[in-house]
């Protein structure tokens, strides 16, 4: 019992048990219902896309760690795998595998590592990869196959949002039913099809407090309000807010992409502004833009404003006079 040998450290001396890898595992658990749903609907195509994306993301991450002389152990913090799963989830099931691989390289390389790696990127890496693919391979990225559970004419097959936007599905009465949208029995990206599976995973994250409820709530509320206003004004020309919430990548984006810690704001008030912005921009693109789907660009667009929103909305410090 002598002096030397005692550790000197500053307080606090205790730490919570939770760590970054544990959080990442929780996100992967939450994604698993949607992964399983996509495998159910698209079978081996889905499996291949997940595997290729994961291999590309991990290899790119490893190459950057090697080049920057960083410990390779960080490869297993789970973040690159999450990026890979999210990237694959926003791809069409029949996308050529080499394109998926390119998407993975761009997502990790350009979306994450050039900014300095985990925690330093401005844009959601998976969406950077997806945006690159949409620009580089526009035809392949908008060619859809129906889920194996749906018997339809594959030649003219499109997503429900494209049906709505380009094929006047509302007028012809050929729009996908809400039930099929909810279960995922529609065309679309791997992860954007089954609203049910996404909601199960999202509920898990909310219960575990791994994501802030304000972001999905804000996104869904603002998209519903925006599309709802048009629907109420002209229900014969516009789809219902529920259709918009359940279709495309809205739930995937609201629950799993907009909530990405690194690229979303820190404070509650800034989270509201960010989430409302995503819903609004998604609605604008869907109703008036050149694309049937706009969630991806809406999130990337709002990612850009995160530092600004945070700076403008500094939270009130205890004892500070309420402003205005």
């Amino acid at each position: 019992m002598t002096g030397p040998g005692l550790i000197i450290e500053s307080s606090p001396h205790w730490r919570d048990k939770d760590t970054v890898p544990r959080i990442m595992v929780r996100v992967l658990i939450a994604l698993s219902p949607a992964v399983l749903a996509s495998i159910y609907y698209f079978r081996w195509r889905a499996v291949l896309l997940y595997l290729v994306a994961a291999a590309a993301c991990l290899a790119t991450e490893a190459a950057f760690f090697w080049a920057r002389k960083k410990p390779i152990s960080s490869l297993f913090d789970g973040s690159a795998v999450i990026t890979a799963v999210l990237l694959a989830m926003c791809l069409p099931a029949n996308l050529p595998l080499e394109m998926a691989a390119i998407g993975g390289v761009v997502a990790i390389g350009i979306g994450k590592q050039v900014f300095g790696g985990l925690g330093h990127n401005i844009f959601n890496p998976a969406l950077v990869g997806r945006a690159f693919l949409a620009a580089a391979f526009p035809a392949a990225m908008t060619t859809w196959i129906p889920p194996t559970t749906l018997a339809v004419d594959t030649a003219t097959f499109a997503t429900p949002l494209a049906d709505l936007r380009f094929h006047d599905a509302l007028v012809h009465g050929t729009l996908a039913s809400l039930k099929n949208l909810f279960l995922g029995n529609v065309g679309g990206t791997l992860g954007g099809t089954s609203a049910l599976a996404l909601l199960i995973g999202g509920a898990y994250l909310l219960v575990r407090r791994a994501i802030d409820w304000r972001i999905p709530a804000g996104v869904v509320a603002s998209l519903s309000l925006f599309t709802g206003a048009f629907w109420l004004a002209a229900p014969d020309r516009h789809a219902s807010p529920l259709f918009h919430v359940l279709s495309g990548g809205l739930l995937l984006g609201a629950l799993f992409m907009a909530t990405d810690y690194v690229t979303s704001p820190l404070t509650s008030s800034a989270k509201w502004v960010y989430a409302l912005g995503i819903g609004l921009v998604s609605g604008l693109i869907r109703l008036f833009g050149g694309y049937p789907e706009g969630v991806m660009y809406a999130i990337l667009f709002m990612n850009m404003f995160v530092p600004l929103i945070e700076t403008l909305l500094r939270p009130r410090i205890l004892g500070e006079r309420r402003r205005r």
Binding site: M1, T2, G3, G5, L6, I7, I8, E9, S10, S11, P12, H13, W14, R15, D16, D18, T19, V20, R22, I23, S74, D77, S79, G116, G117, L118, G119, H120, D212, Y261, V262, S264, L266, T267, R314, P315, R316, I317, L318, G319, E320, R321
Partner: protein, 439 residues
């Protein structure tokens, strides 16, 4: 019922294993080491020389002005030396080494007022100051200064702090169970000294038995006993005022600014003993515990007792214990020497096993530090600004409002030493303000 509390904060494991163990008296040390600085402010001026005989309770250091406090001998015996000695903060401090003759001889009978409750505010304050009473919850601010509101800032409410929100510690809990009468009488004297209207007594939900004990001793006094939610840092002044009264101490202000004085339960007891018995502060209750201590206990310890002796009385350090802390696991000071003495603000002597250091990861902006900061700050931003030496920005974002409770660093899943960076920012900003440049 939903208990009152403050916003945000954390709930670390409580680990208050010693809550059921009555306070034992630690035998007086053979040699006491009494630092002349045991309070916030200037060190006391020594009144004794090496070789001089001193009585138990004799004043051996005089307060050096208002922001200072006298110190008294915890034993009777002979002053061996005045020299620099290891001190809890890490920097050695001028300390009187006193050899205990084991007789506990007092200088004479202290003055005991017949009815302490009819004394004037000035008399109470004078007795509190003379007895060297300082805040015993850890801050060690001279109590007489804290009880004298500046002109134009009347105090309407006295808050007695029985939260003891630090994990492991149970000394205040035991005091409330064993000496409720003295605490409540002390609280009443504090109320009279500060000319306040009422007393609100706050304690955490995990000390329900203490509430019952206090309730039995209220005896018609105007004391409101309030159970608060068990949450850290409930016992921090600003959090406690917010929880009990819904008032917010203004930024950079003091509890005076919202008409409040907060005093810890141990301080209230010390005030009672100082005023009613003329007894100076030379002994205090603390918890010696934590997973690194063989037989954890609550102890009444003479000021100046080396912590080595406190730990030995509790069965010594367990195999693998490598961290010894003054105070609690959240805000305590790690010690490099077991020769450091117990001082007036020592709420606990805790020992923990040597933890494996975990690698720091990059901030993933999970916002937990923001969601748990009781002051409403953005710790990750403050830490980053300090790291990049942008101290003006760091000040703008509220670095000086940080109360150093450690919630941010506790909760951080990336194991970033957030509070260390924020402390660096605070030091640099303070140094710049005092015109001395970088300290």
């Amino acid at each position: 019922m939903k208990r009152r509390t403050f916003r945000r904060g954390i709930h670390p494991p409580e680990r208050k294993a010693t809550a059921g163990r009555p306070v034992e008296r630690l035998p007086a040390p053979e040699k006491a080491f009494v630092p002349f600085l045991q309070h916030f402010g200037k060190p006391a001026i020594p009144l004794v020389k090496a070789g001089e005989r001193v009585f138990l309770g004799q004043k051996i250091g005089e307060a050096a002005g208002t922001f200072s406090s006298p110190v008294h001998s915890p034993v009777s015996g002979k002053v061996l030396a005045l020299d620099l000695h290891p001190f809890p903060s890490g920097t050695p401090v001028l300390t009187a080494a006193i050899e205990n003759d084991g007789l506990d001889t007092r200088a004479g009978d202290p003055e005991k007022p017949a009815d302490p409750f009819i004394l004037s505010s000035e008399t109470i304050l004078q007795k509190v100051r003379e007895a060297g009473v300082v805040g015993m919850g850890g801050a060690s601010f001279p109590t007489a200064v804290k009880l004298a509101p500046p002109p134009g800032k009347p105090v309407d409410t006295i808050i007695i702090n029985g939260c003891e929100c630090e994990p492991v510690q149970t000394g205040d809990h035991r005091l409330m169970l064993e000496s409720p009468e003295e605490i409540l009488k002390g609280a009443e004297l504090i109320r009279l000294a500060a000319r306040a209207g009422r007393i609100v007594f706050g304690l955490e939900e995990n000390k329900r038995d203490a509430l019952e004990s206090l309730r039995g001793s209220v005896d018609g006094r105007a004391v409101e006993l309030v159970l608060l939610r068990t949450k850290y840092p409930q016992g921090a002044e600003k959090m406690l005022i917010q929880a009990l009264l819904g008032r917010e101490v203004p930024r950079g202000g003091l509890p005076f600014d919202v008409g409040v004085v907060v005093q810890n339960v141990a301080t209230a007891k010390a005030v009672w003993e100082a005023v009613s018995e003329g007894r100076p502060l030379t002994e205090r209750v603390l918890t010696c515990g934590g997973p690194g201590i063989a037989d954890p206990k609550n102890l009444s310890v003479r000021i100046g007792t080396p912590i080595r002796q406190v730990i030995e009385f509790c069965g010594g350090l367990k195999e693998g214990a490598g961290l010894v802390v003054y105070g609690g696991p959240m805000m305590g000071l790690a010690q490099s020497s077991l020769d450091s003495p117990v001082i007036k603000s020592t709420t606990g002597v805790l020992a923990f096993p040597e933890g494996r250091p975990e690698a720091e990861r990059a901030c993933i902006r999970c916002a937990r530090c923001v969601d748990h900061c009781p002051m409403g700050l953005m710790p990750t931003r403050l830490a980053r600004l300090a790291r990049f030496a942008v101290f003006e920005e760091a000040e703008k974002w509220g670095t000086m409002d940080c109360i150093e409770c450690g919630c941010c660093q506790y909760i951080c899943p990336s194991r970033i030493p957030l509070l260390s960076w924020i402390r660096l920012g605070k030091n640099r900003i303070a140094a710049r303000k005092s015109g001395k440049g970088a300290a």
